[in-house]
Amino acid sequence: LPGGLTEPELLETGDALARCNEPATAAASILGAGAYRHHIPAVIRHLASRGEYLTAYTPYQPEISQGTLQAIWEFQTLVCELFGMEVANASMYDGASALAEAALMACRVGRGQRTRVLLAGAIHPDAMEACCTYGRSGIVRFDALPPAADGRVDLDALRCEVGPATACVAVQSPNFVGLVEDLREIAAIAHGAGALLVVVVMDPHACALFEAPGPCGADIVVGEGQPLGLPLAFGGPYVGLFATRTAFVRQMPGRLVGRTRDVEGRPGFVLTLSTREQHIRREKATSNICSNEGLCALQVAMYLALQGPAGVREVAEQSHAKALYLKRAVAALPGYRVPHDGPFFHEFLVETPIPAAALVDALAVRGIYAGVPLSGRYPTRTHELLVCATEANTRAEMDRLVAALAAHGGAR
C-alpha cells in the first residue's frame, strides 16, 4: 500500500473521485426502484452528526446511553404508527434483508411445521434475490408466484399455492412496478391457510396515503427506511424497518429498546428481551444481527417527527400527483405505452419504442436519468422502463424529460 496522505491531499483526492460522478440529486431524475429521492430537512444532518450520537457504540450501558436509547424507542413507536403495527425493532440492515429475516421469523412462528414462503407478485428483485440467498441455508424454501397480467398478485394462483406448509405469504405493496396490492384479500387468503402475511414497503411514505399494512391484516411488516430522510448514497447505508404483532415479539430478530425505571424510580430506557439475540443465545438466536443501522434509524426518527402526520401525507400526495402527471404525459406519447392501470403510488412501468437501456444511456448524457430499464435484472425484458416521480420532481423537469422521451420515440 502507498504512503499516507495529508488532509489537504486527501480532500483533493476524494473530491476528484466525487467529481467523476454525476449525482442524481443534480440531474432531472425519475429513478426509483428501491431508492427514492425526497427532500431531507436540513436540520437532520446537523442533529444526527452530533458527536454524542455519531461516536457512541451500541447502548449496552444504559445509564450513559439514554440519548440513543430514548431516540430508538421513539423510532420503534414511529415505525409502529406508520405501519399500523404493535411492535417494531431497533432496525435491520435494509429492506431486502429485512424481508428475508421476516420470512425466517414466519417459519419460527410456524414452529418448523411451516417452512415454505410464497413470494407473491412483483417484489423488488434485490429483495427476491436476498430471500433466495437466505434460502440457501435450507431452513426455508422460497417460491415465487409471478404477478398476474394486471401487474398485481395473482390471487387465484395464490389461493392454489397456499397450504399447510406455507409459513407466510410475502407481498410488496406498492409493488415493484408501483401498484397497490389488495392486502386485505391477500391477508384473507394467507390467514385462511394458517399462514402469516408479510408485507414489504419500499417507500414507507405510501403508508401515509394508502391504508397501512397493519389494519389490512399484515402480521409482519418490513420496509426500506431510506426514503425517510436518508441520502441516496449509491445504495447505502440504508435501514430496514421491521414491525410485527406483540404476540410474535419473542420470535423477532434485532434489538429492542424498552422503557423501565432506575433505582430512584425515574423513567429510563434499556435494551431488552435480549434472550432472543446472538450474544445470549448464540446458535439458537432469532438472527445473527449485531451491529444494525442505528444512526440511520435515528435519522428516520428525526424525519418522521419533523414531518408529522401532515408532512408525510403531503409528501405522499404530492409524489402521487406528480407521478400521475408524468404517467399521463408519457402514456400520451406515440410509441410509449403504460401497461398497467391499477391504483399506483409514485412508480409505474413504461414500454419503450427502443430498447430501454439505450434510451436511458442516450438521455443520461443530457443530464436526464430517465428511469430503470428492467433488462438490467431481467435480460429478456428489453423494452420496459420503471419510472418514479416524487415531490422533489418539478413539473418543468418532468416536461423536459417527456420532451426528450418524445424525441426518442419519434426517432425509431
Binding site: 500500500l1 499516507g4 496522505l5 488532509e7 476524494g14 473521485l17 466525487a18 460522478n21 454525476e22 443534480a26 428501491g34 427532500h39 442533529l47 454524542e52 450520537y53 457512541a56 457504540y57 449496552y60 450501558q61 445509564e63 450513559i64 446511553s65 440519548g67 399500523g84 417494531a88 432496525s91 440492515y93 431486502a96 434483508s97 423488488h124 436476498a130 433466495c132 394508502f210 391504508e211 441520502p231 441516496l232 449509491f234 447505502g236 428481551l273 446472538q278 443465545r281 446458535e283 438472527s287 445473527n288 444481527i289 442505528g294 444512526l295 440511520c296 435515528l298 419533523l306 402526520p309 408525510v312 402521487h320 391504483p343 436511458v360 443520461a364 448524457v365 436519468y369 418539478t394 413539473r395
Partner: protein, 493 residues
C-alpha cells in the same frame, strides 16, 4: 505543578426531556413541501386511502432540536471520552471522513444511475477492495455485507457454496468456545450445525483439538484471530493445515484485525475467507449501533462464489451481474457505500505504513494497560496480549464486588466501562481495548480510575453496589423491562 488527569468525572446541568409524543401539539408543523405545480390527483379510490393518520408527533423544528440536543447529551461517546470496549475497537472517527462521505458526488448518487455517471464511486470501491485484499492477503473482495455478522453469513455461504460446487454436503462447522455470539448465530443462519472447540490452558486453540473434531461432514473452522481473549492464535498456521487436510476451509472473523494490519496477513497464515469490520478497524463511526460495513475477502479460487454484482475492472468500470456461481445478493444494491467512503478515506490517509503503525501501537497500548491494571485486577491470561486484554473481578469478588459493579463505578469517574461478561469463557470478564488513538495520558487517567474503583471495592463495597451516581440515570431495572415489555409509546392508552 502536577499534570491534571485528562479525564475525571464531574456533574453538571442537564434537562429532563419528555418523549417526543408528549411534546406533540395538534396542528403544530415543521415542514412544508414545495407548492404543488401539477394538478392534484383525482384517480384514487377513497376506499384505498388511509383512514386514521399515523400518530406521529406534531412538533416544530426548534422542538426537535431541543429534544435531540438534550437526548444526545445523555450519551457517552468517543468524542467525550475513553471508550475501552473490548472487541469493539472504539478508535477516533476522523471528521474529515464525514465531509468526504457528504460530498454531493457521493451522497447524491442513485444506485440505479447509468454506470457512466458513477465511475468515481466504482473506482473508490475498487481501491478499497484492493486495500482490503492487501491487508488480509485474500485478493477477492465483496463490499456488500452491511456489518460483521452479515459478512460472516456471506462468507459462510461462500464456504458452503464452494463445497456444493465440489458436490460435497458438509453440514457442520467448528467454532471455538470463546467465539463471539454472531459466529454460531451466523452458522445457524447458513444451515450449519456448530461444533465447539475448547481452547487450551494457554487461552489459544490447539491443533489436536481441531484435528480430533475434523470429519468429512465438517465444512471448516470459524476462527477469530487474534482471538476474543486478545491472544495471538499461535498454532493457527498448523490448525489451518489440519482443516485444509480434512477438506475444510477456514473462516476468519476479522473483528480483531486492528492488531494485525500490515503486520501479519491472515491469508498468508492459512485463512481462506474473512470479513473486516470497517466500523472497527477502519475508523468509521459506530453511530450508536450502526451502520457498519462487513466486506468479505476470499482466496482467488473462491471469487466466483461472492455475492453479485461484482465490479468488473477495465478502462471503464462496470457491474458484473453474470455470476452463475454467486451465492446471490445478501441485501439490496452494493453495500453501505457511505461507510465505504469513510473507510477508503481512512486507508488513504493512513497509507500502508500508517496502518501498520496503528496496529503496533494498538498492541503496545493494550500491553501497557495489561501491566498497569494487573496490579489491581486479575488478568485472565497474563502474558503479552495483542490489541486487548481481559481482566476478571476475582480479587474484587472477595469483597462482594462484581464486574458489573466495577463497570458502573467507572462511570462516576467519567469513563465508559470495558466490555463486560464477554468472552463467556472467562468468568466475569472485563475486556479492555484501548486502540491506538488513545494517548498515554488518557490511559493513565483510566488506570487511576480503575485503581480508585479497586480501592473502593475493598473499603466500601456498598458504594460500588450503588454506583453510578453521576449519570442522568442510575441503575435501570432490566428485569422489569423484560417482564413487562414497554416497547413503544402507548399514547395514554
Amino acid at each position: 505543578m502536577t499534570r491534571p488527569l485528562v479525564t475525571t468525572g464531574a456533574s453538571g446541568l442537564l434537562q429532563e426531556e419528555p418523549v417526543l409524543f408528549e411534546r406533540s401539539v395538534p396542528g403544530r408543523r415543521a415542514t412544508w413541501a414545495r407548492p404543488l405545480d401539477v394538478p392534484p390527483a383525482d384517480d384514487l379510490d377513497p376506499a384505498l386511502l388511509r383512514a386514521a393518520p399515523p400518530r406521529l408527533p406534531e412538533i416544530s423544528e426548534p422542538d426537535l432540536v431541543r429534544h435531540h440536543t438534550r437526548l444526545s447529551q445523555r450519551n457517552y461517546s468517543i468524542d467525550a471520552g475513553f471508550y475501552p470496549l473490548g472487541s469493539c475497537t472504539m478508535k477516533y472517527n476522523p471528521r474529515v471522513d464525514e465531509d468526504l462521505a457528504g460530498l454531493a458526488g457521493f451522497a447524491g448518487l442513485h444506485p440505479h444511475q447509468p454506470e457512466a455517471t458513477v465511475q468515481g464511486a466504482l473506482c473508490l470501491m475498487v481501491e478499497l477492495e484492493d486495500v482490503l485484499g492487501e491487508i488480509t492477503g485474500l485478493p477477492a473482495v465483496t463490499l456488500q455485507p452491511a456489518a460483521g455478522a452479515h459478512g460472516e453469513f456471506t462468507g459462510l455461504l461462500v464456504i458452503r457454496a464452494a463445497g456444493e460446487a465440489r458436490g460435497e454436503v458438509r453440514r457442520r462447522i467448528l467454532i471455538p468456545e470463546s467465539a463471539h455470539g454472531t459466529n454460531p448465530a451466523s452458522a445457524t443462519l447458513c444451515g450449519f450445525e456448530t461444533v465447539q472447540v475448547p481452547a487450551g490452558p494457554e487461552g489459544v486453540m490447539l491443533p489436536e483439538a481441531v484435528a480430533s473434531r475434523m470429519a468429512p461432514d465438517v465444512a471448516g473452522l470459524m476462527v477469530t484471530h487474534p482471538n476474543t481473549v486478545g491472544l495471538y492464535e499461535t498454532h493457527l498456521r498448523e490448525i489451518c493445515r489440519v482443516v485444509h487436510d480434512g477438506g475444510g476451509l477456514v473462516y476468519g472473523d476479522g473483528a480483531n484485525l486492528n492488531a494485525l494490519m500490515g503486520v501479519a496477513r491472515p491469508g498468508d497464515i492459512g485463512i481462506d475467507v474473512m470479513h473486516v469490520n470497517l466500523h472497527k478497524t477502519f475508523a468509521t463511526p459506530h453511530g450508536g449501533g450502526g451502520p457498519g460495513a462487513g466486506p468479505v475477502a476470499v482466496r482467488a479460487e473462491l471469487a466466483s462464489f461472492l455475492p453479485r454484482p461484482v465490479i468488473r475492472r477495465g478502462d471503464t468500470l462496470s457491474l458484473d451481474w453474470d455470476r452463475p456461481l454467486s451465492v446471490g445478493k445478501v441485501r439490496s444494491f452494493y453495500g453501505n457505500f457511505g461507510v465505504l467512503v469513510r473507510a477508503w478515506a481512512y486507508a488513504r490517509r493512513m497509507g500502508g505504513p500508517g496502518l501498520a503503525w496503528a496496529s503496533r501501537l494498538a498492541v503496545l497500548n493494550a500491553n501497557y494497560l495489561r501491566v498497569r491494571l494487573g496490579a489491581s485486577y486479575d488478568v485472565a491470561f497474563d502474558r503479552p496480549c495483542m490489541h486487548e486484554v481481559v481482566l476478571t473481578d476475582r480479587r474484587q469478588r472477595e469483597h462482594g464486588v462484581e464486574t458489573m459493579d466495577i463497570a458502573k463505578g467507572l462511570m462516576d469517574h467519567g469513563f465508559h466501562p470495558p466490555t463486560v461478561y464477554f468472552p463467556l469463557v472467562v468468568p466475569h470478564a472485563m475486556m479492555v481495548e484501548p486502540t491506538e488513538t488513545e494517548s498515554l495520558d488518557e490511559m493513565d487517567a483510566f488506570v487511576a480510575a480503575m485503581e480508585a474503583v479497586a480501592r473502593l471495592a475493598v473499603e466500601d463495597p456498598d458504594a460500588l453496589h450503588a454506583a453510578p451516581r453521576r449519570p442522568f440515570r442510575r441503575r435501570l431495572d432490566e428485569v422489569l423491562a423484560a417482564k413487562n415489555p414497554e416497547l413503544r409509546y402507548g399514547f395514554g392508552g
